[in-house]
Structure formats: structure tokens, C-alpha cells
Amino acid sequence: MSTTLERPALAAPRKVTSSKDSRTLIRSQARAGWALLAPALLHSAVFIVIPVIAVLVLSLTDYSFGDTWSWVGFGNYADLFRDVDFLASLWHTVLYAIVVIPISMAISLAVAIGLNQKIRGLGFFRTAFYIPTVTATVAVATIWLWIYNPGSGLANGFLSLFGFAPNRWLADPATALPSLMVVGIWQGLGTKIIIYLAALQGVSRDLIESAELDGAGRWQRFANVTWPAIGPVQFFVLITSIVGTFQVFDLVYVMTQGGPGSETRVLVMDIYQNAFQDLKLGYASAETVIMMIVIALFIGVGRLLQKADAND
């Protein structure tokens, strides 16, 4: 069933003066529009467009906070693809995103569906799930550092109940990144749950009841009514998750500093290291440009998946 909304045809101008009035009205509306847009445009120009241009320009130089600098063309980009730290950071970031995004989205949706039911203590659960989101990452990371502490941490204490040997979670190259992923998944749930919950509450009850009357089971109702209805929200959550996971930094900075070795070094950490520790601002700018491109690629893939899902 589809409904087409058609724009009503404009009545022919009866007088030249009314046509003039209409143009004046449109112009004044346009002016009002620009006036309302101006603060946002100004903000975007100052804090987004100018920095992006500056990063693009800097990425073509060898600027390192000294007195002199020179143009190096695409030299920084060529060096980046020979830089094992950058390649490792890129891989860790992509891996982090690939694992954290789908798992956190799936858990969030499941929890949101649970919280959308009429259960007791709903307010408590909603608050409990949202608390990690409003807690400072440094505090979250500090608590998780204790949980992962090899000697006195909760994780090893819990596993020891089942006879498992203690693990050196963050000090072991094999478990350091997965340990961070767990924290990343946990910390990101709150926001996603709230968004999903809002979307679920917007799904038409009429459609669900109709499906129920047609004999659709619980899974069929979810797959054919709820899932398509929350499609746009899924896409929004996906995009914000991609951007968020690619920008993961504070968690890594507090918990592992990118170690052991470079096992948990992620892109923003590498950019930070190059820019503010090694003072290679030109090089770090090139890295930032690459990160923007990778995020755009991921968003593009997400968009394609969303389109394919919508066509299904």
C-alpha cells in the first residue's frame, strides 16, 4: 500500500503585483532561512571546514613545530603505508570496529526490546544501562583496570571459582585488544539502548496487531514489522557507532597506552603519538586524512547494506 502526496498546483497569478509580493515573500523567507542557518554555518566553518582544510594542507608538509617546514607532496602518505605502527594501528582499529559495532548493536537491541516490555523495575534497569554512558571514560577505565588486575582483579577472581588459571588480561598480547573490546561494548550500550527504545516505541501498534491477527508469530512480527520500522534508526546507530569506534582513544590511553608492544595501538592513539609526542604534525595530519577516508568507506558500506536491507 502506498500513498502519493502531490503538491497542489499553484494558482495562476491574477495580477503582476501579487507575483511581485510572492517574490518578496520568498526572498524574505530565504533571508530568514540564512539568518537562522548562520550560527550553525559559522560554527561549521570555524570548527570543521577550516580545520579540515588545515589538516589537508599540513598533510602535504613536514611541519614539526620547528621554525622551518617544507612541502613534501604525498611523501607523508607514501611513508604511512610503509609505517608498521600505522598499519598495525589501522588494523587494530578496523578489528575493534568490526567486533564492537555489531555485538554492541545486537546486545543493545535485545536489551531495548526487553526494556520495551511491561516489566517491574523498568526505570531502574533503564538507568542502570545508561549509567556507563554518562560516566567519564577515565573512571570507567580505572574500574576496568581493577577488574582486569592479574593479582586482585574481579575477572581472575571470578574465573578462579571455576578453576581457571589467572590471566594477565591487559599485559598479554593475545588478550589485550579483546579485553578492551569488552569494555568498549559495555560502555557503548547505554546510548544505543535509549535510541533503540525510542525507535521501538514508535513502531505502529496497529501494524503489530494486524500482523498478530494475520497469525504472525513473535519472530515473524519482529522480522516483518519491527525490524523494517526501525531501519532508519539502525542506520543512525551504525553511523554513530562507526565514528565512535574509529575515534576510540581515551579508553586505550588510560588502560594500555597502546601496549603491550603495539597490540592495542589504535589510529587516534597513533595520531596523538605522532603529533604530540613525536611532534610530527604533518605526518599526523596525513594519518588523520586517511582515517577520515576509512570512516567514509565504512559509512559507505553501511549505507549499501542499509539499502540492500530496505530493498529486501
Binding site: F65, G66, S262, D278, L279, L281
Partner: protein
Amino acid sequence: MRRGVGLTLLAAALSVLVSSCGNGVIDKSTDGVPPAEATGTLRVLVPSFPPSTKGREAFQKVVDDFHKTYPKMKVEPDFATYKNLNEKMSTSIAAGIPYDVMVTGVGWVQPFASKNIFEDLGKYGVTPDVIKEKSTPALIPAVTYDKKLYAYPLVADARAVALRKSAFREAGLDPDKPPTSLADIKVAAEKLTKRDKNGNITRSGFDLASATGFRQSFTTFLAATGTPLYVGGEPNFDNKAGLDTLLWIKSMINNVQPYGQTNAAQQPLVLTGEAAMGIVNGGVDCSADGIGQKNCDDLKFFRFNSGKEIEYVGGDLASIGSRSRHKDAAWSFIQSMTKPTSLDLIAKLNKKVPAYKDASNSPQAKSNPLSQFVADGLVYAVNENEVPSNWLEMRGNFDIQLTQAVLGQKDPAKVLHNLAGQSR
């Protein structure tokens, strides 16, 4: 017309907004102005004073001394830490308000001097002879770039080795004959390591003090074989001595000490009894507020000697920013900081040794046996030596790649070869 007026108003409003965000005033240069008449703000980046009440009080004493010469100058301190020093410096340069006085450590001077960020102190009469006569000669290479001096030492951050006498006796070792060579240390450490029934280390045999990276310990152990890390900015570790040292570290980690072992207080593990032997920094508090006299009496200090007796010595080094508009005042401030009374305060606050001629007789050295030991051993000082100008980058590279070699992720020989290739 109205649009033009609107735009002009908008531009004016923006200008006001932007200018009101900062104080909008850039100091006029005070160089050449009589000190008593000079006005402006002296910005000081200083990790030597902790931002505690005691640290601020000690800093104020330096400021009060400085004000005797420059009474009208305001001093704006930035109590940074060594961890965020580079961020502070780079962001201040990017923001166009570089610091006038910058206190950094060993390994910072050459990279910043090569970028023209530090001022040559030769014009203030600082020469190697002056430092030899008044300060710590061991720190001359650390403040030298291209045969010019760019910093003045404040305190020496010396490291020694300590052992627990009780642990030695318990393991059947003689604490009066401490192992000093790398080979002997390994043998003793293996005997001293305690494990639980599952084989997990419960007390380390030797603390390499390398929770986050092996750069400093590698430098120390390598120097103990008589091989400095760099000579004249050229790498000196891609050789048999370097490989043997790295393999030795690899053989110690997860054998006599778990990788990444540290405690919440960031204390050397031998002082807390979590290790039987290990690297310690330049001071110990033997009072009841510290580790207590009984623990102190159980400690014995010694130095590495695998062919050459050495003591790793870092330090706090004061420089003048080359873009400062108050260079004369900055030098005057450094002179206030380097007065013996100020250096004693800095040394006490940081458990380091004052970098003046007779450090062995300083109040800090007299205050505890460890400071006395390291002060007496400044003649054995080693550090990264004459590092290349990309040392800031190399610090991180060393920490990451040595860890990868130690944890068996990369071939040690290839790691050293790679690090040598990256040094320039």
C-alpha cells in the same frame, strides 16, 4: 546597503567575541629593558615542582627570589609532568604562546634544539667548563647539541640497584657480595624468584623497572657492558653487545618477573618487598611515613657492572624558549631555580639529587642512604648519551619494539637493526 551593515555588525561582533576569548595582549619584549622596569608575564613549564601545596610553596620561593631582580614581572607556572611535557610544548608553540622557561629531561634537548625551540645558553656564559665547575658534569652530553649548550641541569635523577638482605640469606646467597654482572644477576634472580603451586610468580627475583617499556633498562644494561646506546648521535646498539643485552632481558621477563608488573603506588618493587632485587630510583623514605627503618635496614644498594660500573642518570634540565620575549628574565629565573637552596627543595620534592658540585654533601643525600649512594655514584653516570635529533620519535619506537622482541613477537636482531635504521 542594509545587508552590508548587517555583515559589518556581524564581523564586529565576531571580532569582539574572538578577542574576548583570550586576554588579547602579547607581551612586549623585555630584553634590554632594566630588570626593575621590565613588565610582562614569564611563562614557565616545569615538571620539577609537583602541583601539591608543598610543590607550589617551593616554587613560590623561587618566584620570590626572581622578583628581587624582576619585581614587576608576573610568573605563570605550568606544573606539567614528564608524561604530558611534549603535548604542553607542542600546543603552546601551535597556539603561538611558547613558554619562556622550559624544564625537560635527558633526551629532550637535542630534538628541541635542532628545531630551534631552545635558546643557545652560550650567550649567558654557560659553557661545559661552567657546568663542570658548578653542576653535574655527567649531564653535559644531555644538554649539548651541535657543540652548544641548550640547558642547565637542576637535579640528577639517578638509579641504582637494591637487594633485600633477608631474601638473599633465605635463598642461600651472600648479601655482602651482590651480583653485579648481567649473568650473575640472572643466576641470583632465578634463585630468589618465588612461585605458587601453579608456577605463578609471587615474588620477583629481579625488578627490571620496565612496566611500560624497556628503553631505559636496555640503555642501562647495555651501558654496563661498556657500550653506550648512541655515540655522537649514531646508533651503537645494533651489534653483539646490543643483541646479548636484549636477549638477556628476554630471558628475565616471565622467568624472574612477570611482564608489566607494577604496583598501585608506582614504587620500585624491591622497596615494597614484591621483588627480592631490582632497579630503584634516587631516594627512599625510611621514616614511618615511608617504608620504615626496618625495611630500609634490609636493603643494600649496588651498581651494575658487566665490564663497566655504571649508574643510570637522568635529570631535570632548564632551557630558555627561543621565541621568548623575555629571554633575559628567563635566564634570571633559571638562575633563581639553580641556587643551592632551590635545588635542595626540588631534590627533596622529587627524591632526586641536586645538580650542584658537591651533591654528596647535600641535605637530600644526607637524608637517606639511597640518595647518598646515588650521589656518591654520579661519577659512574650513563644515559642515552648523545641522542639523534629524532629521539622523541625513537623513545616510543624503542619502547614498542623492544617489548615486541622481549615478548617474542619479533626477532630481537631484526628489532635492533630496525631501530638503528630509524635513528637519524
